[in-house]
Structure formats: C-alpha cells, structure tokens
C-alpha cells in the first residue's frame, strides 16, 4: 500500500519537473532568438497561420462579451441606482483591462496552443523532431522559436480587434436594449479611456501569448506514446496555459492596477 504522502510527494515532484521544463523551454527560446534573422520566413508563416486561424472565433466571442458586459452593467446600475450615462465607461474599462485580454488569451490557448501541441506532438511521436536534429537542424530554432514569437505578437493584435468588436457589441446592446444613445455611450467610453490601461492590457496580452507558445511547445516536445499521447499532451497544454494565464492575470492586477 502506498501512503497518501508518497503519492502527494510524487505528484509534487512531477509538478516541479514540469515547471522546470517549461522554464528551460523559455530559456532555449530566448537563446534561439539570436538566430532570428535567418528564420524570419518561418516566423511570418506562423504569424499568418496562427493569427488568421483564430480571428473569426475572436470576433464572434467579442461581440457577445461586449454585449453581455453592457447588459450586466446596466442591470447593476439599476440595482444601485447609478446613472446610465456611465455605462460606456464601465463597459470600456472592463473590456480594455480584463475581458478582452483574458478571454482572447483563453480562446487562443484552446485554439492555437492546442494546435501547436498537437502538431509538435505528432512530429515527436513520428520521429520528425529526431530527424531534424539528426540533420543538424535545431528544432528549437526551426519549430519552437517561430511559433512562440507568433503567439507573442498575435495575442496582443487579436486583443486590439477584440476590444474594438466588444465595444461595438456593447454599443448595440446599450442603444437597443437599455435605451442609452450611442453618443452617450461612446462619450463615456472616450472619457474613461486611458492609454496607460491600454498599454497594460497589451503587456498582459503579450505575456499570455508567451505562456501559450512556450507551454504549447513544451507539451508537444514532451509527448510520448502515439495518438493517445498526442491527445493527452494537447489537453495538458490547454489546461496548463489557461491556469497560468489566470494566475498571471491576478499577479498583473496586483502590480499594474493599484487600488
């Protein structure tokens, strides 16, 4: 019989090993950056495939996120008796600093992070990564670096789209459902908009992109055992990056947005 403590101990070791591996992957990515110039073509390929892949989903989700944010804000305003002319401000703030970065990142993790892991994972189990290495081509430079960079740049870019579309969604709901004029809503948004919030949102988005790329590649590289292994790695990739995104988001809240 194994004691609970032994099992807990082994889980702990596994967790620490994984975290260490993810940090190692980050280090190897940073080292590979010095060969960026010769890999620019690969980076552009990835920017295109990874970015374009997730744009439609981001658009659909952002419309509804903005819409529900406006509706819920109006509901709460009514409850506390706040004037509805502040609706644009409330929705704007929430979208720019929290909703757009976090939700886009989670969607990106589920769509692109999972895809990266599945692709690299199946390359691992079919020995394609070994083949690259045996040919004297660094898989970190050839596979990891372009994908991580693409995530790092695409998440902030998608967040800009998401903000734009979500505000539009909020606007439509305000005008049709809450009876706030578009002028009032947009004025509120404009008055509350601070460039600092936007920049902080972008910084968060970039870090989330980095997390998704590194975790996605790490899980893909450490896939073992056929199709089942690829499925497992893909699930792990989404779960780990989503958790890390939310943890880091909280840390960012404490650092960037002081109460």
């Amino acid at each position: 019989m194994e004691s609970g403590l032994t099992i807990l101990g082994r889980r702990g070791v596994k967790f620490v090993t994984k975290l260490g591996g993810i940090f190692l992957m980050l280090g190897r990515f940073l080292v590979a950056l010095k060969e960026l110039p010769r890999s620019l073509g690969l980076v552009f390929d990835q920017l295109y495939t990874l970015g374009v892949k997730s744009l439609p989903l981001i658009i659909i989700i952002s419309v509804f996120v903005g819409a529900v944010a406006a509706w819920q804000a109006a509901y709460q305003f009514k409850f506390i008796g706040a004037p509805l002319r502040y609706l644009g401000q409330a929705v704007g703030k929430a979208v720019v600093i929290e909703l757009a970065p976090v939700l886009s990142a989670i969607v990106f993790a589920g769509r692109v992070g999972a895809g990266v892991t599945a692709e690299l994972g199946s390359m691992r189990v079919t020995e394609q990564i070994d083949a690259l290495e045996s040919m004297g081509i660094s898989p970190i430079r050839y596979l990891v670096m372009p994908r991580v960079l693409a995530c790092l740049f695409m998440v902030p870019l998608l967040v800009v789209f998401a903000i734009f579309i979500a505000i539009l969604g909020g606007l439509v709901v305000s005008v049709i459902g809450v009876d706030v004029s578009s002028e009032t809503f947009l004025n509120g948004f404009r008055n509350s908009f601070q460039i600092g919030d936007f920049i902080n949102g972008m910084i968060k988005a970039a870090v989330f992109g980095l997390i998704i790329g590194i975790v996605g590649c790490y899980e893909g590289f450490h896939t073992r055992g056929g199709a089942q292994g690829v499925g497992l790695a893909t699930t792990n990739s989404v779960v780990i990056s989503s958790v890390l995104i939310l943890v880091f988001n909280f840390i960012f809240a404490l650092i960037l947005f002081r109460v």
């Binding site: 390359m123 079919t126 020995e127 070994d130 083949a131 290495e133 045996s134 040919m135 081509i137």
Partner: protein, 252 residues
C-alpha cells in the same frame, strides 16, 4: 583507443526503471556494412540514436573518428551529425513539406549551396532511389515503400560518410522489402560509405550485412560474419534466426 570509425564503449541507458542497454561494446570500422539484430523492444533504435547523440548514455561513451561525441558542442556537434545520414523506422518525412523540400531541407538549412545547386542535388538523389516523378508530391500521398525511399534520398542528400538504417524493411511487403535491400547494398558500394542497419528481418540482414551483431539482454550477444551466424552453436542466436518461440529468449 582503436582506429575504428565509430566506437561504442560500454554504454548503458535506462528509462526510469527500465534498463534498456547494459554495457554495449561495439567498434565499427570504416567501410563496413553492419547489421544489428535483436527482438522488438530490445533497444536497437535506442542504440542507433546514441550514435548521433539524439540520446545520451548514462554510462560509457560513443566516439566518432576518435572524438568522444559527448564533448562536442554547437557547430562541431552539427558537423558531426552532418557526417551521418539516417533513415528512420517510419521514414519521419516532414509532412508540411513536399518530397523535394524534404530531400533538400538539410542543404537549404546548411546555406552553403545555391537554390539551383540544391535543385540538381535533389533531382540526382531522387533518381538514385527511383522517384524522379514524385518531387512535388506530399508525403501523405506516398505508399510505405515510397516514403522509405524518400527518407533514403534525404539521408544521402548531404553525402554522409555513415548511413544509419532503423528497420528499413519493417512493414513492407516482401517484394518492396527486397527492393529496399538492393538499394541499401547498391548505395553502400556506390557511395563508399559505412552502413549500420538495425532490423529483426533476417532475410534483410543476410542480404546487406558483412558483419552481424546480435543485441540481447542489453548487451552484445554475438558478433560475426553472416556465415558464422548461420553455423553458430549459440542458442540465443539460433533461436532468433530460426524464429522459434522455444529457447533461451523469453517472449515478452
């Protein structure tokens, strides 16, 4: 140290609790064609991967041309690897690239040749494996035998000194397998290389080897010429080449 091209000196390798290699010693001389035989799962692929440092031994060392390969870093590691060509068990073609791009990738990334030079090298290598017309196909459109031949063309693209084959005939029908065997023999002579193949296919082993090594229980059990293999009194080897379930080898 001997004057062997490749020296495998007492290497051991374990994965967690599984001891795969337990002190393998083997010298490979320049120009030899060695076949390493052994049961599925006995560590043949693991051994092969140690030669180009895709895996590193827990104990022991691998030398290439007199140099301990664990001491190589950066450019020198890459240069060592480029002196090898490797055909993987499942061919390991890059499925995002065409046949021609697969064969030319090593050269493209090496950045020593112009695009037209690479084109003509790729054409030449595809001719050698009889796949001149497949250059623009995707790997997913190819049969198992064709994939192996593309893998072969890719392995020889950089004019390596040593060719490694991981189960070159496994999973192929007997006729295609024989064609691959002929190609391996042919390339060995034409390209003036050292060849190391691992397999459990005895027909293939007898056809391509001038020396056969049997891996058993994590060590080298037998090392001799094909004739010595046929006439051996070693029970383990006899059981393996006759393909019998009865004998010292435990079927797992």
């Amino acid at each position: 140290m001997s004057d062997a091209l490749i020296g495998i000196e007492g290497i051991s390798k374990r994965f967690q609790t599984l001891e795969v290699l337990r002190g393998v010693d083997l010298d490979v001389n320049r120009g030899e064609s060695i076949v390493i035989i052994g049961q599925s799962g006995c560590g043949k692929s693991v051994l092969l991967k140690h030669l180009v440092r895709l895996l590193e031994p827990d104990e022991g060392a691998v030398t290439f041309d007199g140099v301990d390969i664990s001491s190589l870093t950066g450019r020198r590691l890459i240069e060592m690897r480029r002196r090898y060509g490797m055909l993987f068990q499942s061919a390991a073609l890059f499925d995002s690239l065409t046949v021609a791009e697969n064969v030319g990738l090593g050269l493209t990334e090496e950045r020593l040749h112009s695009k037209t030079e690479i084109d003509s090298i790729v054409r030449e290598k595809l001719d050698m494996v009889g796949l001149t017309d497949a250059r623009d196909k995707n790997p997913s459109e190819l049969s198992g035998g064709m994939r192996k031949r593309v893998g072969l063309a890719r392995a020889i693209a950089g004019n390596p000194e040593v060719l490694l084959y991981d189960e070159p005939t496994t999973g192929l029908d007997p006729i295609t397998a024989d064609m691959i065997n002929d190609m391996i023999v042919d390339l060995h002579q034409k390209l003036n290389v050292t060849s190391i193949a691992v397999t459990h296919d005895m027909t293939s082993a007898f056809k391509i080897a001038d020396r056969i090594v049997m891996l058993y229980d994590g060590r080298v059990e037998f090392d001799g010429s094909p004739d010595e293999v046929r006439n051996t009194s070693n029970e383990v080897v006899r059981q393996f080449i006759t393909g019998s379930a009865v004998g010292p080898i435990q079927v797992r």
